[in-house]
Structure formats: structure tokens, C-alpha cells
């Protein structure tokens, strides 16, 4: 890491990053515990909060983007992120379709199955 900034600035960065992270953590925690939202709305909000905390930590803790050009770390991270989206997103997409297609039971069985699934919170 080639620090362009002085020790004081780094110090401040860590404090700011920490404060923001704590705030976001509390935010998403109380969102769930106090049931301030539900369903897809909740999921989307949690998603946004998690990713904003990711970027806070990347910038303030991991110092992404502070290196000199050609910024190989940023490139590597971007590439990794794309691959991650492909693999994780792709797997979930594929598995969702497979699981759905493999349930050709009689209708009442399917209903029973879905009921038990719902009970489990899926």
C-alpha cells in the first residue's frame, strides 16, 4: 500500500469508516428486529445497506483505489465481482429452475410440499 496521505488522515479514515459501518449495521439490525419493513421491500433495503457497507469498508479500511496506476487491485476486484455475480447468481437461477421442474407430484402432494416449505420459511 503506498499511502499518499499522512498518518492523521489514515487515522481519520478509519474512524469515519468505523462510524459509518456501525450506523449501517444498526440500521439493518433494527430494520429486521423492529419489523420496520417486510417482504421484498425488506430484502431490497437489506441488500442496499449491505452493499453500502461493503463500499464503505472497501474505501475506508481496505483502501481500494489508493494504489498507483494501473490500479491492478481495483481491476482484480472488479473482475472478481463480475465472476462472483455470474457464478452465484447463475447457480441460484439454475437451481431454482431445476428444483421447480423436478417437483412433478400430484397436485395435493405439491400443495402439501409447498405448505411444509412455507412453514420452514422459504
Amino acid at each position: 500500500m503506498e499511502y499518499k496521505s499522512s498518518a492523521y488522515q489514515i487515522y481519520m479514515k478509519y474512524l469515519v469508516g468505523f462510524t459509518l459501518s456501525v450506523l449501517i449495521t444498526f440500521g439493518s439490525y433494527f430494520l429486521v428486529v423492529n419489523k420496520l419493513a417486510d417482504g421484498y421491500m425488506l430484502l431490497i433495503m437489506l441488500f442496499i445497506l449491505a452493499f453500502s457497507q461493503l463500499f464503505v469498508q472497501l474505501l475506508f479500511f481496505l483502501h481500494l483505489g489508493e494504489e498507483k496506476k494501473p490500479r491492478l487491485r481495483v481491476q482484480a476486484f472488479t473482475f472478481m465481482f463480475i465472476i462472483l455475480v455470474i457464478i452465484v447468481g447463475g447457480s441460484i437461477w439454475v437451481m431454482h429452475h431445476l428444483n421447480y421442474n423436478m417437483m412433478n407430484f400430484t397436485s395435493e402432494q405439491k400443495e402439501h410440499y409447498m405448505m411444509t416449505q412455507r412453514d420452514k420459511g422459504f
Binding site: 449495521t25 439490525y29 437489506l46 449491505a50 482484480a76 420452514k120
Partner: protein, 195 residues
């Protein structure tokens, strides 16, 4: 000449370690995907909402977050060549990390006591694999931090130790980043009874 070499070596080592962290992201990504696919398959067992002790999870999260801050402060101390300060912050980091790890072990023990071990269902297997792998990384980090403390105590701030400390901080920050997602997508989504 030697200084030039050291800079090149530091750059190279940090980039290499960064690359390794990227591969580790993929590793966690696969565990997340597996967890997501299997989370509903509880085989009749209780749902996550019934199992998770949320205040405990919040405490865990804050402990890890604090330790990642102190790991940063440790780096600042190192830059200022303040050996005592460095050791103090490293010690605090280890303490909070260990607290996190202890809480995690406690959670696992409680789950197993409730009859929800990794053998109970696919959903539990996925949970233990994902959270356990993170815990294993934390354990490695704690071991690393301890070795680092000993080495800095014995040999002082050599070029090599400075590099090691930077890499350790990077690793520790990275583990906190992973935890954000475990916290959100395992615990919070699980506690809200999923979608």
C-alpha cells in the same frame, strides 16, 4: 538499490495477497450459493427465525467491527514506528477477535444442544459450512496475529514484519467484509423469516 527492491517486493507481495483474497471471495461465494439453495431444506426442523439469538449476533458483529478498527489503528501506529502502541492495538484486535470467535463457538454449541447440528438437515449443513468457514478464517487470523506479535517483539519493525502486518490487517478487514454478508443474508434475512 535495496530500497528499490523492497518497494518492488512489497508491491508484489501485497498484490499477490490481494489476488489470494479475491480467490477467497469466490470460495465464500460458492458457500453462500450453496447456503442459499439449501436454506429452505430443513427437513421438518425449526426455521432459522426460531433459532437465531439476534442480540448475540449483533454483539458478535460489533466485536468484529471494533477489532477491524483496532487493526487499522495498529497499522497507523506501525507507520509512526510506535512499538508499544502497535502491540497494544494488536492485542486489542486479538482480544476482540477472540471474543467474536468464542461467541460463535457458543452459538454452535447451543444449536447442537438444541438438536440442530450439521447432521440435522441440508439447511443446517449449509449454515455450519458457511459460518464455520468464516470462523476458521478468523482462527487463522488470530494465530497469525499472535505470531506477528511475537515476531515484532523479537525482531522489531523489519521490512518483512511491516509487510506481514499490512497483510494481516488486509486479511482482517477482508474477514469483516465477508461478515457483513453473513450478518445480512444469513442472520437478518433468516430472522425475518426469509422471502
Amino acid at each position: 538499490m535495496n530500497k528499490l527492491k523492497d518497494t518492488a517486493l512489497s508491491y508484489r507481495t501485497e498484490l499477490g495477497f490481494w489476488m489470494y483474497l479475491m480467490t477467497d471471495c469466490i470460495l465464500f461465494g460458492c458457500l453462500f450459493a450453496t447456503y442459499a439453495v439449501l436454506r429452505g431444506s430443513t427437513a421438518g426442523g425449526p426455521s432459522e427465525a426460531e433459532l437465531f439469538d439476534m442480540p448475540m449476533v449483533l454483539a458478535q458483529t460489533l466485536a468484529l467491527l471494533t477489532s477491524t478498527l483496532t487493526a487499522g489503528l495498529m497499522l497507523v501506529a506501525m507507520h509512526r514506528k510506535r512499538s508499544v502502541e502497535f502491540k497494544v492495538w494488536l492485542g486489542v484486535t486479538i482480544a476482540f477477535g477472540a471474543a467474536f470467535f468464542a461467541m460463535e463457538l457458543n452459538e454452535f454449541a447451543l444449536l447442537i444442544a438444541e438438536g440442530q447440528s450439521w447432521q440435522s438437515s441440508a439447511a443446517r449443513s449449509g449454515f455450519f459450512a458457511l459460518v464455520g468457514t468464516h470462523g476458521l478464517h478468523i482462527l487463522v487470523g488470530l494465530l497469525w496475529a499472535t505470531v506477528l506479535a511475537v515476531v515484532v517483539h523479537r525482531r522489531g519493525f523489519t521490512q518483512k514484519n511491516i509487510r506481514q502486518a499490512k497483510l494481516f490487517a488486509l486479511f482482517w478487514h477482508f474477514l469483516d467484509v465477508i461478515w457483513i454478508f453473513i450478518f445480512t443474508f444469513v442472520y437478518l434475512v433468516g430472522a425475518s423469516n426469509g422471502i
